[in-house]
Symmetry: C2
Subunit: 294 residues, 2 copies
Amino acid sequence: MGTTLKDVAVLAGVSRSAVSRTFTDGASVSDRTRRKVMEAADALGYRPSIFASSLTTRRTRLIGLVSDNFKNPIFLEVFDQFTRAIQAAGYRPLLVNLGEADLGSDPLEMLQSYSVEGIVIASSTLPPEMVLSFAQSQIPTVHTFGRYSQAPQVDTLAVNNEGCGGLAAKALLARGYKRIGFLGGPESATSTQDRQAGFKQAALAEEGVEISTSYASAYSFEAGRAEMKRLIAGAAPLAQGYFCGDDVLSVGAISALKEAGLSVPDDVGIIGFNDMAMASWQNIALTTVHQPLE
Amino acid sequence: MGTTLKDVAVLAGVSRSAVSRTFTDGASVSDRTRRKVMEAADALGYRPSIFASSLTTRRTRLIGLVSDNFKNPIFLEVFDQFTRAIQAAGYRPLLVNLGEADLGSDPLEMLQSYSVEGIVIASSTLPPEMVLSFAQSQIPTVHTFGRYSQAPQVDTLAVNNEGCGGLAAKALLARGYKRIGFLGGPESATSTQDRQAGFKQAALAEEGVEISTSYASAYSFEAGRAEMKRLIAGAAPLAQGYFCGDDVLSVGAISALKEAGLSVPDDVGIIGFNDMAMASWQNIALTTVHQPLE
DNA sequence: CTAGCGGTTGGAACCGGTTGCAATTTCCCG
DNA sequence: CGGGAAATTGCAACCGGTTCCAACCGCTAG
């Protein structure tokens, strides 16, 4: 704030280049000059401006961290991991909240005008076109929690959701259940679609298994609870066990079951997804598919 | 990326100033020129660079959002609220994770070198000297979840923790309890100290009330659980009701109580703090002091 | 003694914008 | 149609840095 390279140069009695070189490692400066500069800089409380230097170096060390999910506790873990890793690598996260938040402008253009060096999209629910538009922007982009694919259009880091769906189905079958259900998040989310596909495939591979499918309107407690209430009130009998597409969803479903006087897991089994920190809390003790966030 | 103001100027056949003025509202440009510029800009996919302009305007529209708590679900709500408000006002949050994260440099110097226009510190556990050093930096700083005071050294936005402690004590007393306990977070946190003080004062204002005090090592499930286990195993009898300094802490304490075969609230009453979203989940159904985050 | 070398230094141009100022256009009115 | 005010425009300097380049330094080797 206020003190610039020129001020330091004047006080130290050297050229502006010398000051600049002192703060650029690898540059050629004599020890004597460096010392003079450092003294002057300390005296003035000088901090080089990243943005001024970014003009020529083209480095802002800024990473756009984009998400639309600020409700699900798993994302606090996600943000923690990301910000720590980004910081440890000497970068800084510019956070973008896409969830029903009014951004005032196209988020991509915004990130471009901030010259971010990379973009991380942490969401399994953003429309693929939007993700694609980020990826086509010249700015290196990684989509986490996106769709696992052999030929992805966007660099993607994600679990194999189909495989996970299969895993969950097998766990329910291993318990001896013959009527099992998939209770996913929003049907438009690729994560929901893929988990459902894997679930179905694994279930149908076995003889005499009956499956049902339904979707909650969001990956949230309320949505899971509402959907399970609907199932309970519905004409069709409940399945013996459900794979819910998310831990919070599961907790919502469980709350609806308990309220209806049903015991989990004695009357109905539930498997969640993510293994959020609180899944292991004793009051919740949720069986779930672990996602290795680190 | 790549295309600059000059490129646009050349293509549009106008001066660089004209282009700059087109993108600065309030500047004097004829409709004809504006149209030519816009066409050229669209054709080239031009985005003005915030940082280049910040050099002269001194505006980065960046706000440093600093926190050391990426574990407690209440902070996801905090981040959601902050980022949305910051974005709605046309600013962008530069997130800083101070929690055991290695930042590679002094966080304040870092934010200075990014020319943030303001700093929001969201933490009740940061050492006051650190908060103070932010506030003395020339950069407008607000400390949220800090200490409520008539003469704060730092601009602070916080609930009256003493008042809240009193509120909780009165709620326990109103239930008829005569032996009540305070189970706070880390003793060094001002929030813990103030809630404890308010709790004690309100409790001692009544005749024949006995209070006990203890502290968990962090505002976390594990710490709350561990501390309650210690109390259960201890020589002293348990209090009839506890005010825990945080919701997650409460859930931890409850899990320890249940594990010991005690019922909440029949054997021991618990009041939490914050009213995090999941406090109202039916499986948790925590009595708590609401903090109006919005 | 001098040529040559590697290391250090300052000057000046440049990064991508903004803005004060003077010159030029446009517009309005008599 | 002329004149003056208002609106528009381009030039050039500047924001806070970096970097190319040429000049310079102290030394060593021939």
